[in-house]
Symmetry: C2
Subunit: 383 residues, 2 copies
């Protein structure tokens, strides 16, 4: 039910074009994975998501475990049926949210700030709760719900059980996502724990059975030796594919991803977790990543920041108020085909919900089509 085929490899980079087959359809790679955190791509119907050219949606284990609960999703027939998305789906392991919405403690009780994939985007409210919501040990993580403060525990086994209940096509091993601010020794310790958790995730996944494909997650922070070690260890396990987790310096993200790609088996897909700025996708593909997910395009859209070939357009700029041109001339998205900047500016000023819908359509279309163009370039030997 799960298969990855490489169609073409670049001759002067690690880029490749391929096809991931899942029980719910294929993902042509490189691909941008649309994020539907709480079993909905914010402000869009599944039909809109499909019409953008999106092939795969990623939902969040942590959020869905807390609300509405994975048992309910299972009773509803799994995520696909619950949210009415018939295509391929991923769920992450829940680790990132546990650490980024709370905070991780080492066994010695020393607080270590935890970044997650996108540490600067953390809200002040969340940051204020740091150091009290999560506690880590060898077995797993105890944490408090960010919704109601209730106590919960995630372990590699629980993460697998929850992700099996959710029923996505591609699921991820439970990992510890460290802060880039954590010292080297802690990065190494956390990475080694992540490797032990990977083995436990794999064992539990096999015990549970079924058609889902489990991806292992490579960690190691921003250290070349740790990244290389992690990719060799995780790459040596019987995963269907791999996630590349943790944070990167934006300047040398491509280099760091290359350290990983070069040490992973070539014939399995690689997902770069939480990365999705246009320039990062290009660097990621050149460094051997096949798929990418990121909340940025839809979050930016809801704030009125629109992606264009000439950079970001802030629709709340005074110049947009009477501008009857589309967001971007020549853009084929539904929004640009049917609405002006002036209309969007009006909707944003009037705080109308359609603003978020139309802006999200544009930004997702932009990123998905950027990734499709990159795929064509790889296939035609132009990257």
């Amino acid at each position: 039910m799960f298969n990855f085929k490489i169609e073409k490899k670049s001759s002067d980079s690690l880029a490749r074009a391929g096809v991931i087959e899942t029980p719910h359809g294929v993902i042509e790679t490189p691909a941008f994975v649309t994020v539907g955190t709480k079993a909905t791509v914010k402000a869009l119907t599944p039909e809109m998501v499909a019409s953008l050219g999106a092939s795969v949606v990623l939902a969040n284990t942590y959020h869905l475990y807390l609300q509405p609960g994975d048992e309910l999703v299972k009773a509803a027939g799994g995520l696909h049926q619950f949210m009415n998305w018939p295509g391929p789906m991923m769920t992450d392991s829940g680790g990132f949210q546990v650490f980024s919405l709370g905070a991780a403690f080492g066994e010695g009780g020393v607080s270590k700030f935890v970044s997650g994939h996108d540490p600067n985007k953390k809200s002040k409210e969340q940051a204020g709760n740091i150091a009290k919501l999560a506690k880590i040990d060898e077995d797993g993580v105890a944490f408090q719900s960010h919704i109601d403060g209730s106590a919960h525990r995630l372990t590699p086994e629980r993460s697998m059980q929850i992700q099996h209940n959710l029923g996505a096509d591609i699921i991820f091993a439970f990992d510890e996502c460290t802060s880039p601010l954590a010292p080297y020794d802690y990065q190494k310790e956390a990475m080694e724990r992540t490797h032990r958790w990977a083995k436990r995730s794999l064992d539990e996944h096999k015990r549970l059975g079924g058609p889902q494909a489990l991806f292992g997650i490579v960690q190691g922070g921003r250290h070349q030796d740790l990244r290389q070690e992690s990719s060799r260890v995780i790459g040596g396990m019987d995963f269907a594919g791999f996630g590349i987790g943790g944070s990167f310096n934006k300047e040398d993200m491509g280099t760091a991803v290359s350290w990983v790609s070069q040490n992973l088996p070539e014939n399995k897909p690689r997902h770069l977790l939480g990365i999705g700025e246009p320039e990062d996708i290009i660097a990621g593909v050149k460094s051997g990543a096949d798929t990418f997910d990121c909340v940025a395009p839809t979050r930016m859209a809801r704030n009125g920041a629109l992606l264009t070939a000439r950079g970001r357009l802030n629709i709340l700029n005074a110049s947009c108020r009477c501008d009857l041109a589309p967001i971007e001339e020549g853009c084929g998205c539904y929004t640009c085909q049917n609405y002006s900047r002036a209309y969007l500016a009006h909707l944003f000023r009037a705080k109308e919900m359609l603003a978020a819908t139309l802006a999200s359509i544009h930004n997702l279309y932009y990123l998905i089509n950027l990734t499709k163009r990159i795929r064509r370039d790889v296939l035609e030997g132009r990257l």
Copy 2:
């Protein structure tokens, strides 16, 4: 370009089925008019609105005059093009909002609370601003913007100019919408002023020219003699159709609408302004009204109150949390065809925007199809 044809009249009530022809298509009556206050039906794309079976959208002159401005809408090619709605459109006169978002003063400076069509739904914030936002005289109304407090003035002539800029197919004469709490003498005074404003609206509309159809508005509060007088006076003017404005007692709304219908020319359409509860639509049709607009179905939807044949369902009820049935078994709407109550309950609890979209689709579908069934009943002599 504008025409109204009665296809069938009920033998034992004032109900009739007909067709309104406009430059942007036909409206089969009785019809529910979907409200798109600020040039968007909240949380829905125009394609969604059309797919519900909606044939006509009503936008608000007051709101669009203030933001983004009627001149901009005109420059964009008019409302249809600005908001991407190709079908028939209406705009109201702006009078209702001027009075309900502010407050009207008599010449003597005595404050009179103003109801509008739905006085109980006014927000506390708006109520707090009452008595300072609007001042009425023979010429028109001076008011402050509810957005930024800036000073504005609407007169019958300005309302016509603005509505010509907006470019809807059916527009309304400028009227004064009184509070049901106002004394009889003031109701009469305001009604007579509305009649003078109707004449001025008609004159200005003719001077401006063009294909738009102007409807006069009947007022008169809850008094039979005033309603009869107003319908005879307004009905005697050269309007293409009529709006029935002001507030009613829910218990005898049908009776009050009948007073009006019996005194209006039979061959012109009648629009009941701001009325749209299921039972009110049935009573309205039996009393001779052809079209209805109301924000209630979409506002209720955004609050999680869903229309069903067995009354309102509050999706936040604990019982919905794990209920895998649709909102209503047998309902043909997109939401009921594809999503469970449990999914909607999850979206509402998670404060996801899709909640408002899916709930609005259901409620509008319910009301539009209720009205279509009433139309069939009239056509087939069953009402």
